[in-house]
Structure formats: C-alpha cells, structure tokens
Symmetry: C2
Subunit: 690 residues, 2 copies
C-alpha cells in the first residue's frame, strides 16, 4: 500500500484502461498554440486490428527560438503549464527548449508501462533509454550510459599476444580524456569569467561521473492530474555520441522478453527484423524526410545546427545556436536524408578542459570510424585478433589513406546508424548516392528506396541530432564515440556494399580466421541469405511463449558447441559466448516458423545438417575463401571522403534475392503505416475505421 499514489487511482479509470502497446488512435490536430495537447479520442479505436502495434506517435514540434519562424503555424508551440507561465527565461535556454511532443500516447495504467513503449520507438533509432529520474508524476528518460570497459578486449581468454601495444597507447589517451573532462555543467564559462557573466547563465548541474553519461538527450513523461493522462515530450533530441542498436544489451533482452510476455507480435516481428539487419550489416531504416509532406520545415526547424566549433577551447559559441536548412543542392538530391549533423560542439561541457593533444581532423575521423567498426558489434571487439589490432594501428598511423585498409575499416555495421548521425554535411558530398524518386509511396525496385519505405514514420520526426558535448577530442576506443568528425559518407557507402575480397594466405590460421570474421562483419551477402530465410519463413507468433515461463526460450540455449557451428556467422557468434544464444534463438524460429511449432528447437539437440540445408556456404570446421560472399551487393557511388577514397571503385550488383526479401520487409511495414495522413499540416495516424 505504501508508495501508492492516490492520484493514479483516478487515473486507472476504466475509460482509459488501454494497454500501453497500442497507438491506433485517430488523432485530431490541436490548433491552439496555448493549449496543451489533448487527445480527443482517448480510448482505443479498436483493439482488435492491431493490438500490439509498434507505437508510431506523431511528434509535434515545439520550437522556441530567438529567430522568428514563419512556419510557426503548424509548429506545436508551447504547451505545458510551466512553460506558458514562465514565458521566456534566457536566450540560452530557449535553444534547449525545443520540445517534441509524442502525441498519441496510450493511457498507461502504470508508470512502468511507459518505458517499454518508448523503447519500441527509440530502440530502432539506436537509442537505449534508461530512467534518469522518476516519481509518480513524471519519468525522465535519457540515453543509457555507455560502458567504459576499454579493457574488455583483454578479457578474451584466447586473445593473441602483441596487441597490448595499442591498448596501452589508447589507455593513456583514455586516462587523459577521462580526467580531463569533469564535464559537469551543460554550459560553462571559462574559469576566469566575470561573476556577471556567470550569474547570467544558468547551467544545469547534472551527474558528471564520467564522460559516458552526459548525453543531453532527454525524454520526459509527465502525468497530468487534470487530463489524467501521461504526456511524453522529447526535451532534447541531441546526442553526444553515435547511435547504435545493440541487440546484445541486457536491457534490450529484457525488453524483448517483455514483448513476448505481452504477446506483442508486431513489435516482436519488427525487432526481430531489426536484430537481423544489425547482425547482417544491413542498413537500419531510420529517419528520412518524406517529400511534400509539409514537415520538412519542421524538421529543419528542429534540427538546429549548432555552430561549427573547432576543438579549441571556446565558450563563445556555447549559447548561440542557429537553425539551418539543408544545403540546397544536397536537399534536392537527397530528400530522404535527415538534415541531421553534429559538426559543431555545443560546448556543454569541459570548456575549461581543452584536449591538449589535438589530432588533425582526418586522423580523428578515421580513428573514430575504425573504432566504430571495432566496437559496434561486441564480437568484433571481443575477438581481439591481430586483424583488429591491425586496424587499430592503421587508424593511428594514418594507414587509412591506403584504400585497401579503407576497405576493411570503413564498412561500418549498419547498426552504427551512420545514416542517421551524419556528422558534417559541409564536408560530405552525397551526390549520386541517392537517386531514388522523392516520392516514397511510388513503386520502386531500388533497394535503398525499399529501405526508406521500411521506415517507421514516427522516426521521421525524430532525426536524432548527434552533438558533441565534450569539447575534447577523444581517442576513445569504446562504445560511446564522442567524436563528431565521422565521415558518414564513406560509412554509408559501405553499408550498402560489401567489402571487396581481401588477400590473405588461407594457411595462416589465426590471421585467416580473424579475417574471415572481419570480412563477415563487413559483408552482407551471407547475412542477406539469413535474412531471406528469416523473412520468408518468419512467423512472429512462434515467438510467443504464452503460458510458458519467461526464461524458457533462453534457458534452452545457453550453451553451444563451437564445433557445431559450420556457418561462419554462427562460429563467429559462438566465439563471443553469450551473444551466440540469441542467434540460436532466432534460428529456431527459422526452423519452427513454417511448421507452426510452438516449441523452439534447440539446435544443440537437433540435426544441424537440417540447418545447413537451409543455409548456403555452411561448412563445418572449414575456414577459408569459401566464406566469401558469392555475390557482391554493391552500388555505384562516389566516395570523396576528403579525397581519400577516390581510388576506390565499387560496383553495384543487384542481388535479386536480397531485394525481394527487403521488399517483403518493406511491404510489411508499409502496410502498418499506410494510415499516416496529413491533417492540417501535420502527420496524423488515422485509424482506418474513421
């Protein structure tokens, strides 16, 4: 009884007792700019059609800026009582008050229902939410802090020698970086600023234990006693790090488990796809700007681009933010690319702590790119073989200029969300990368377009901004990569293409083995085979363990024999131990789906040749060139990359099989989101019944 909030007794009235994983609302547009967003249809229109749909709320933009906006009419201006009462406080604060209201919010019966609902939205964007603070009337979410664990690689028992060299080097950098960045206040002045300046700025004090948890991204859920509803607002859509979806995280596993427990079939299906896209290095469909929808202005208004800041210590630009639109040439050529960039540093932290050793931009870029490559998938980090080590030294020594090395380093896993976190639009030329039709709903056979159509429309408006809140330039070798100087163009190009063959002696077992792994991480061909199998036979209903204890599917496959793993992907997964369980789980459904079996098959106890028959290139205990993708999925594109990549030639080879599978995925998602309509200048999710 204690801790129970009586206000929520009223809240849990039968009128609004909808389950939290449905967003099938008919949504009218509140026109009043001074009125809080109110759901006119509070109940669920229908619980039968899509009871567990992935939430796709329309976010209304609330932009307060010193710049007067002509397009304010459909910008959802201010809202919460505190904002209307408080009016405008400081110029500096206004820039932080860009609010995105998630509008169709279910009537959560319990506070704990909010996070899973939000996770459905933000996990696909590569954002792992954690609760920063909560009480009965609010829940504040932020990005999960990244693990430090720069020595995680060393825990590999079979780690070969000769790698400590780079580790030590980076360790020194890490130490310096860590301790050089108290990174407390959001906006700080120099140490010698006058008291007047100090008092005029109201920087926030936050927990500042490490540089890993100072991302400004915030989502706030607030319970209104009047409306007896929760409202959710994205308070700050900026990020201080790369976004990436990590299916191996414990939090995600719990989330997925809850989906299964809740029988949220559609969400399970979507996240299974997401997992496989991640594993297969397929591009994750993320925020794009649909054409002619009228939202472009909002996006551009929201995507406030912070002033480009050199890595020299400077507090001058900390409070000056400007709103820019896409470069006209780029905008016309890439209408589906989000206008996201994180070139500038908002200098929220560490202004007084300049990074003493400032590397040149190119080096930073390449190094961070490599780091992403090394660290995105845990298997890559955990292998710790000379090949990985070679990458590390390559990045540090500038070998990245060698196109051969580039081929290995640049192909970033799609889970790094490079598509979304484009860093410096001014330096990247996306010309000819996207040639698709600007109309997403028109039929197209271009794979990239399929990806765009796969996009959950809710993410259109998210377009997470990746900003650098650390003023230092980090040689950080870990998951949270703060460097804003990522060459997203090259990353993006590699996402769609597999790495070219690398020349290695097959007799060098260790090196060769690692090369296979690396190449596998870079290539997408065999992964696409998996996806094809997966998507063709996938049946989300098999994921439901209704009436079965939660951990059953997990406990069935806790150990795997490496010798059973003929496929290099599986072998690769088995190398990292626990991460192998997931792929077995999923493969079980590849087997079970078509047969409608309710019980997943344990691959430890079934004939693995059965699995092999479904998978091409599966050879038990065989390593070597036969793992090379039989077909290269590559597209013609330019990779200027500051002039470093122009020697690289990549060819587009259409893989019809992959294409078909992606179209299946895309059509599935399109079916889900076909009810998005433009209503009064805003996108609304319209229930078909209405």
């Amino acid at each position: 009884m204690e801790g129970f909030n009586p206000a929520h007794i009223e809240h849990a009235s039968p009128i609004n007792s909808s389950d939290s994983h449905s967003s099938s609302f008919v949504y009218a547009l509140p026109k009043s700019a001074s009125e809080y967003v109110v759901n006119h249809n509070e109940g669920r229109a229908s619980a039968s059609g899509n009871p567990a749909a992935v939430p796709s709320p329309i976010m209304t933009l609330n932009l307060k800026s010193t710049h007067s906006l002509n397009s304010d009419q459909h910008v959802h201006t201010s809202t919460s009582p505190t904002e209307t009462i408080g009016h405008i406080h400081h110029v500096e604060k206004l820039n932080q008050n860009n609010l995105i209201h998630l509008d169709p919010v279910p009537n959560f019966e319990d506070k704990s229902d909010i996070k899973p609902w939000l996770q459905k939205i933000f996990y696909p964007q590569g954002i792992e939410l954690v609760i920063e603070r909560s009480d009965t009337f609010k829940v504040v979410f932020k990005c999960k802090a990244a693990k430090r664990g720069r020595n995680a690689r060393r825990k590999r028992k079979d780690k070969p020698k000769g790698q400590d060299h780079e580790d030590e080097k980076s360790k020194i950098n890490d130490d310096e970086l860590e301790y050089a960045s108290p990174s407390n206040a959001t906006v700080t002045n120099g140490p010698q600023t006058s008291p007047d300046q100090t008092s005029s700025i109201k920087p926030k004090k936050k927990r500042c234990v490490s540089r890993f948890n100072n991302c400004p991204f915030r989502v706030r859920a607030t319970y209104s006693l009047k409306r007896k509803r929760w409202s959710i607002v994205v308070m700050d859509n900026n990020h201080s790090h790369q976004l990436k979806f990590n299916p191996d995280s414990e939090e995600y596993k719990k989330f997925k488990e809850k989906l299964r427990k809740d029988n949220d079939v559609d969400a399970i299906k979507k996240f299974d796809e997401l997992e496989y896209r991640t594993l297969a290095n397929l591009p994750i469909p993320t925020a794009t700007i649909p054409c002619d929808c009228g939202l472009t202005n909002e996006i551009q208004s929201f995507n406030v681009v912070l002033p480009t800041n050199s890595n020299v210590t400077s507090s001058a630009s900390s409070s000056t933010v400007s709103s820019i639109s896409l470069d006209s040439s780029n905008a016309s050529k890439r209408p589906c690319l989000p206008s996201v960039n994180n070139t500038g540093s908002i200098n929220t932290n560490n202004v007084r702590k300049p990074k003493s050793q400032c590397k040149n931009k190119d080096t930073l870029l390449k190094r961070t790119t490599m780091q992403n490559f090394l660290t995105t998938k845990s298997r890559l980090r955990k292998t710790g073989t000379p090949t990985s080590s070679q990458h590390s030294s390559t990045a540090f020594s500038g070998y990245i200029d060698d196109p051969f090395n580039l081929n290995e380093i640049l192909p970033l896993p799609a889970s790094d969300f490079k598509l979304n976190t484009v860093t410096n639009l001014n330096e990247i030329d996306f010309t000819n990368i996207f040639t698709k039709s600007p109309h997403p709903h028109s039929g197209s056979t271009h794979p990239r377009q399929v990806f765009d159509q796969l996009d959950d429309c809710s993410s259109i408006l998210f377009s997470p901004l990746t900003t650098n809140t650390n003023n230092e330039f980090e040689g950080e070798s870990d998951d949270f990569v703060h460097s804003p100087y990522l060459n997203s163009e090259a990353d993006f190009s590699q996402i769609l293409s597999s790495a070219p063959p690398v020349h290695h002696d097959p007799n060098e077992t260790h090196q060769e083995n690692q090369d296979i792994i690396d190449r596998f991480a870079n290539s997408s061909q065999e992964h696409n085979e998996y996806i094809l199998q997966y998507l063709t036979h996938f049946d989300a209903a098999n994921h439901n363990n209704i009436g079965v204890p939660n951990n059953n599917s997990h406990s069935l496959n806790t150990q795997h024999n490496v010798s059973d793993l003929g496929n290099p992907l599986l072998r690769q997964e088995a190398l990292v131990g626990s991460s192998s369980t997931k792929i077995f789980d999923e493969l079980k459904f590849v087997q079970n789906g078509p047969h409608g079996s309710q019980h997943p098959i344990d691959f430890q106890h079934v004939d693995h040749r059965h699995l092999s028959s479904n998978e091409p290139q599966v050879r038990s205990h065989q390593y070597g060139p036969q793992q090379q993708p039989p077909q290269q999925l590559q597209y013609h594109q330019n990779q200027p990359h500051d002039g470093h990549n122009h020697e690289q030639h990549q060819t587009v080879q259409k893989d019809m099989q992959t294409h078909e599978s992606l179209e299946i995925m895309g059509n599935t998602l399109l079916e889900e989101f076909k009810d998005i309509k433009m209503v009064n200048g805003e996108l609304k999710y319209v229930k078909p019944e209405d």
Copy 2:
C-alpha cells in the same frame, strides 16, 4: 530467493549468529602489522550482560605516510592484501590511505545490519551516514548530503517581509558558487596542464552533482569470504563540513525506531540523552584524548593536518600533507581535546574554480558562525523573523565586531560539534578553557570534566577531521557549512555559557518574540531543567514498543495545539510544526517512566497542567523577560579571536542545579563505559564477565 547470496549462507552459521547491536567483546590486539585484523574471539563472550550495548569498537589505525613514524609500533600498519601487495602507489594516494579499522565488529547476519550499528557510533559524532554503494560483499558509507534548501525559509507562511534582500544577495552567491564548482576530480590540474602531468595523477571521479555531497569521509564494510566476517574500515576521516547531530532528521528517526524495535535499551538511552543535549544546547561529549593511554601518538599521527591554504586557487598543495602534533602549550593544557583541526584545505575539489569574490577571513568566519547558529536547529532557520534577518545582515556588514551582536551570534548550539571540529588551532587559544585534571578517571566536579568523562571511548579514536574540500569560500547559508574558518574557541565558550541578556523593547511583538526564541536557543538554563527531569526519571525500557506497531508512538503525536504550549521551549518547537512531535514523545516518557506505563501518554489528551507542574518557567502565552535564564552558566575564558573579541567579558556562574544534572548524566555514562581497558597499548572494551 533471487538476490540471495549463497556466500552468506555460510556466513550465517550458528557460530557467529550474534545480533548486530552488541559489542561486548574481549578483544585481543593483533600485533602483526602484516596480517589482516582478525578477531580472535569471534563469538560473543556473553549475550546476557549487555545485549544491546552501544557499539564501542576499537579502531586500529592504519597510517601510511611518506613521513616515517617512530611511533609506528602501536600503529596498526597495513593490513589488507591489496595494500601489502600494491605497496606504495603515489605519494598523493598515501595520504588518503589512512585507514581506521573498527575492530570488534559483530557478525552481521545481514548487510542491512551494518548501517544501524555504524549509526550508533557515528550519530553521536554528528555524522549522518548514508550508503554510497553496496553489494553483497561491501557497503560503503559516506556522510549524508546536506540539504541545500536555501528557500526553506521562504516556505514559512508567516515569514515577515523585508528579508528578501539578504536572500537575494546570498542567492546570487549560491548560484555562483554552485556553478563555479563542478568539483569532480579529487585532485585536478589546471586547464592547461600538460598531458604528462595529467596522466601522472589519478584523481578520483565521483559524483559531483552539488557541493553538498563531496565530503571525503568514507566508511567501508567489506565481507571477507575467507573469514566469513564483515570488516569495517574508516577510509577517510576527513570532513568537508561541520559535524552536527540533527535529531530531527528522518534518517535518525528511523534509526531510533529501529532501536526501539530491536529493544536496544542502552542505545535508546544514550541517544535520548544525546537528543536532549542537543536540544538543551549542552555540549555533546565527543572525541577526547585520554591521558597516558599511549594513543595520543596515534591520534596525532592520524590527524594529518593539511597545509593551510588561502582561498586563492592553488593546486600545489593538493597532494602534500603533513602530520603535525598539537601545539605543545595547548596539548599540555588541554589533553582531553582532540587534536582535530580543519584549517587547511586538501583541495580535493574545485581547484580550477576559484571563488571569484573572496571575502576576508574575519567576515567569512563570522558569517559562517552566524549561519551555523541560524541553521543548526531547524526551528531557527524556519522562523525567518527580522531577528534572524538582522543576524544575517550583521554578518555581512561586519557588525559582528560589536560585542553585543557577538553575544547573539556566537553562541552556537552544542549540536554543531564545534568541540570536535576545531578549525584552526594556530589561531585559537584555549588557555584556561580547560583546567581539569588530565586524568579522566579521577574524580572531578568540574562540569567540563564530567562531559569529558561522558565520552564514549570509541569516539576517542575517531576525532573527525573537518577539512575544506571546496576551494571557494561560500556564502552558503545552509546546513552544510564548508567554511573552515570557524572560530571554534568562541563557539566553545558559548556552549558552556548562556547568552547574556539582550536589550530589546518587549512591546515589539514580532521582534520580541523572535528574540525570545533566539535567546532560548542560546541559553541552556531551562533546557537543563528539562534534562534534570528527564535524567532523573528516565527509564529507557519505556521506549520499547515491543509488540506495538512501529509507528504507534509517532502517530500518537502528530499534531499539537500551540495554545497548549505554555513552556517557551515547547512553544518554540510548535512554531516549526513537525519538530514539536519529538519533544512531546520524549516528554511522554518523562511522565510514563516513573509509573512504568507501557503506553506513552499523548499530551494532547492529558491535562497539560500536569506537565507544567514539572517544568519551571512555564507560562502559557507569555513572552518577555521572564524567559530569561535565571542564572547564567558562564565561565571565564579568553577569546582572542584575532583580536576581535577582547572587549567581551564573560563571567562564570555556577549553576548547581545544572551541575547536578550533568553529573547524573555523566555518572550514568561512566557506568556504561567503565569497562574500557588498556590492552597492549590499545583501548579495548573488556566484558566484565571476562
């Protein structure tokens, strides 16, 4: 079942299943300096004699210093495996490795038993412990962060006007201070230090949300799997703030409630006394150095005195610590005073954040002293009347030089533990303050000596150091007072003396009313009457609510009618609302004790004239000079105080009634601690049965 640590299954063996609130151990001294401290008598010697005694563990000192110590033989040198293995890391780190082992530690059956046991030790020292971090194998305690709450005063509904001026002034200071002090790293370099310097120092990163929780004091409880025992070590005995016992804190109430639930009669008795000493402005018996016990060196060795640092930004002294002994003249004259001081700043934090407006030392001293006076008891802060405001402006304007103002400002409540947290020994002359015999166990009738003898001997070795971890000088107006420049001498003198009469017009109702409150807080006469009554009739057994739900005694007295409060003390308490409940609770026992009633009497429902008959000076609804203490308890003493106080003359007037009551208290406590013995050069608590 989940979360249960199997290691603790072994731990909870019947051999060592002693309740955690007993410390009646016969304790042998571990002589080996390279061996971990081991209890040779693991079981309790006897559970019958004193089953709930206040713990009095002997702390063994573990001092590592760059200075070689001649008295190392009875200093309990290093101990834990990591220390012996790791040898000496950095000179800077050594100073932080002064460890105090709490040696007779009960065999806690549960991790949650540790905190209450430690609270028994540290609450009397004015230290409110909270858990910083815990898991199944360790619990780390630190000081509870003080509430900021400078707006707490404003919440007073009856707050008069004309006070916002000072509040605004101090608010600006607070803001500046807050935001000028990220205070993250323990040892920081300047922003422009070279990488080499940066990497050579390993400052700690801690949570740095506010300046209120950066006290370095740490107590660590570690569970040893080998020994299957908990060991407790004071890792850092320094404090960044004044120590004060706050009986009004919620944590303390819970602690007290647990004592009652556990039927810990002796602890209840002791803490009841402590509460009344606090309320009555009686000195709290704290750390003293017994003569000829051989521990003086240890104390002096442990009390590492950090270099006196001006408030100018400096990182040079952050890692240089020197061990000093008491000034010889002072040591000979005041052998029972702890050699504690907090003159210097260890510069653990905020080195890069110099306080921009540096006040002169005198102003800071007076202001902070005043602030302690205003804020120690919540009732003083919450009244917020012009008198308090006058104090505030007085301190800012330097009126403190006026001895009349001094009389109002300097008398600090004893709960501020000024005895313990002497700030600058070099500036304070304690000559003639203590004239007692240096042998504590010889009979004495001097009240101060009685206080000394009251001391729990366990606190001898604690002697908390109050150090300034903030380099700035704060105009902080709240509970956590960081300023190290407190004139402890003046404070101490006032603890033993009541304030002289103040000249005020009795017709000014508001001002007069506040003056009464202030004077009451300063005087001890009427309080002593309470204590006399209390101690005479006190029966701790009546505090036990065995078989009664926990909150019963609390729920019985949640509201009081102010008109029922004839006694100014009660009236004063009623003014602040919730704090009045406690005194009613205690008064209930004054009533119930002699009659042996198991049920406390609710004074809201009994004849209050009964209460009044027990209390002198009780006049309902009467304010004025009659509340002046009938007798002044003052002692001759010098107050050099940098030459500011030499105009002040104070006379000693012995109050026999007070003296008797204090002797009763002293004898009671002496009875409890008569079993402290010197064993092998260390104080040991020897069970009488042995």
